[in-house]
């Protein structure tokens, strides 16, 4: 299997955000490795997700709960539903190890979440830790970790219901 080009890594990050904007959450979840995590630190430069509070630190099981909940008939906080919009800066491939098949991309973004008359803008950086899995799909790239650092990660937010 050939190593992905930088452009292919960048295309992965862009496509991942597009799935979220299109609310195709099941397909989005499939982009994670089985041991994958989605992490939103609570503090700037945070290194520990376990003994320091985070906004989110979820494995695939918890992400699946979140996704199934969004479609539930008794999920009142999604009646009406939320929508979201990612505006990405060109992702930068910040590290690549072709031997191990491990890659890191960093992407500045603006994220908007909207529900009813309320629309909230968030700004931050997404760090994708990608691995190449030899399963013959989409270059075999999967997310082992998607880390979302908000510029105001320690602010008091209202509800954030979808994924950045």
């Amino acid at each position: 299997m050939t190593a992905p080009t930088n452009q292919q890594l960048i295309d992965f990050v862009v496509a991942e955000a597009a799935l979220l904007d299109e609310l195709r959450f099941d397909e989005w979840l499939a982009l994670f490795t089985d041991d994958g995590h989605y992490w939103m630190p609570l503090t700037h430069g945070q290194t520990d997700p376990r003994l320091q509070a985070s906004l989110l630190y979820e494995d695939k099981l918890l992400l699946q709960v979140r996704i199934e909940r969004l479609h539930g008939v008794r999920t009142f906080s999604q009646q009406p539903t939320s929508r979201c919009h990612h505006l990405l800066q060109q992702p930068v491939v910040s590290a690549r190890d072709d031997t191990a098949g491990i890659y890191t991309c960093r992407t500045a973004f603006h994220y908007t979440e909207a529900r009813r008359d309320a629309q909230t803008l968030y700004a931050g950086w997404a760090t994708h830790s990608l691995v190449r899995q030899d399963d013959g799909q989409d270059n075999g790239l999967r997310m082992r970790l998607k880390r979302v650092d908000l510029v105001n990660c320690d602010a008091a937010f209202g509800s954030i219901q979808l994924f950045m």
């Binding site: 918890l62 009142f76 008091a156 937010f157 209202g158 509800s159």
Partner: protein
């Protein structure tokens, strides 16, 4: 137009035996009176001594609408000052925490204060000679708050210099704080993990009310906890139960569970759910923890401490404590329809890290602005905040299992779905709202 100012009778009329008037939740004048009276007459939680371990360490926060700074004085005691320069009113200590050394220095004109608030120096002091400065308020320095009490490292204050005493106000309810501290093998807690903050577009009392509302979890949280249980059921047999599922699943317990776990109602609006059982009762043990508790307390005492699995303890007016998972939530009133919820977590000093890890996971899953349980609740509060503007009805009902004989009883244990605790909170609300209110012509 003023309906409630200087009119204690009008305030009393807002709380009936089993009903609370909507103005308690939506009226701006009532909110202003809460800041002036309720939050001044009661003992309000400020912070924890572990946040200011060394002389000069400070932590800024608010008590009601009052900016204050908690500081470790040079004599080792904890002082609580109004965070306001005596000169032009600038907040002397910046937001957050830090160390100010031996004195505070206002960043505007360099007036300095000792850490007990006493005015230390003013540049060009001669300019105040023969100006009557000594008789001005400013010469008194940064004002201290009315009264401060540190109870097992929990710092409370009463803004009014006169009023109900600390022991009288809390009475037997302090046993929840005792239990939380006793869960440390060293008998000590430390604020740890960072504070989770979540902005709510609703009245602060909706959150207080919710803490002992045991008829909502299986309804409002079916979407989150119920889904977690469903997803978990699809896991292959033999998969070890994840910590998150252990935390979520008890939310879906049936009504009978909550009825049977009981509620204890103390005086002055304090009370707790989970007398004989609770949703925190059946967590997996942390390896090594039991042994260290036995080593510190002896087996019988350790069993007694860990067997007390209280669910939510409301300390009126605006905090809730979970002893078994070392969490303290503050419902900070910002406006009639705006509340900042802070969820603080503690490390049991000498206990395994796993306990802090679990506490932090619970906080993420339940109390974060990104938490599904939090989304469930906030949606209900916000709909209530909107709904209460309806002129179709005037009253909120808190009559479940009401018994006229309950008045005057304290330290009573009752059915876990009784709304007695909610009624008790509002009776305390009336008492402390009107305690310092002068009856006179409405202005």
């Amino acid at each position: 137009m003023s309906k409630y100012h200087n009119n204690p009778q009008a305030v009393m009329d807002l709380v009936r035996e089993t009903e609370v008037h909507k103005d308690c939740y939506v009226d701006e004048e009532i909110f202003a009176l809460e800041m002036a009276h309720l939050f001044a007459n009661t003992w309000v939680y400020v912070g924890h001594a572990s946040q200011v371990p060394k002389p000069g360490d400070y932590f800024t926060t608010t008590v009601g609408d009052q900016p204050v700074v908690m500081v470790r004085h040079t004599d080792g005691g904890i002082k609580l000052l109004h965070n306001r320069c005596a000169h032009k009113g600038v907040q002397v200590a910046p937001e957050g925490c830090g160390n100010t050394g031996k004195f505070f220095r206002c960043p505007y004109h360099a007036w300095t204060y000792r850490t007990d608030g006493k005015l230390l120096s003013i540049p060009l002091k001669k300019g105040y000679d023969n100006t009557g400065f000594e008789t001005c308020e400013a010469s008194q320095g940064m004002a201290g708050v009315g009264a401060v009490q540190v109870y097992r490292d929990f710092v409370f204050c009463r803004l009014n210099p006169e009023g109900v005493g600390f022991e009288e106000f809390f009475g037997a309810s302090l046993s929840t704080l005792d239990n939380m501290v006793d869960r440390s093998p060293e008998g000590r807690l430390e604020v740890a993990g960072g504070v989770m903050r979540y902005m709510h577009r609703c009245n602060w009392k909706m959150l207080v009310d919710n803490q002992t509302d045991t008829c909502h979890p299986m309804v409002a949280h079916e979407s989150s906890a119920g889904t977690a249980v469903k997803v978990w059921q699809q896991a292959p047999e033999g998969t070890p139960k994840p910590m998150a599922v252990e935390l979520f699943a008890p939310f879906m317990n049936p009504y009978e569970f909550f009825e049977n776990m009981g509620i204890r109602v103390w005086d002055n609006g304090h009370g707790h759910t989970g007398v004989s059982d609770s949703i925190h009762a059946a967590y997996s043990p942390a390896p090594g923890y039991w042994e260290s508790m036995v080593a510190s307390h002896g087996e019988e005492r350790a069993r007694q401490i860990l067997g007390d699995v209280r669910h939510n303890t409301v300390y009126f007016p605006n905090i809730m404590v979970k002893g078994p998972i070392q969490t303290l939530r503050i419902f900070k009133p910002l406006a009639a329809d705006k509340t900042l919820v802070e969820s603080w977590t503690f490390r049991l000093v000498g206990a395994p890290d796993l306990l802090l890890e679990r506490t932090l996971m619970y906080n993420r899953l339940v109390n974060a602005p990104t938490s599904v349980v939090g989304h469930d609740d906030l949606e209900m509060y916000e709909r209530a905040q909107q709904g209460l503007h309806s002129r179709g009805a005037q009253w909120v009902n808190v009559g479940r299992l009401y018994d006229p004989a309950e008045r005057g009883q304290t330290n009573a244990v009752t059915n876990g779905t009784n709304e007695w605790q909610m009624r008790s909170q509002m009776r305390a609300w009336v008492r402390f709202m009107t305690a310092s209110m002068a009856a006179g012509e409405p202005t």
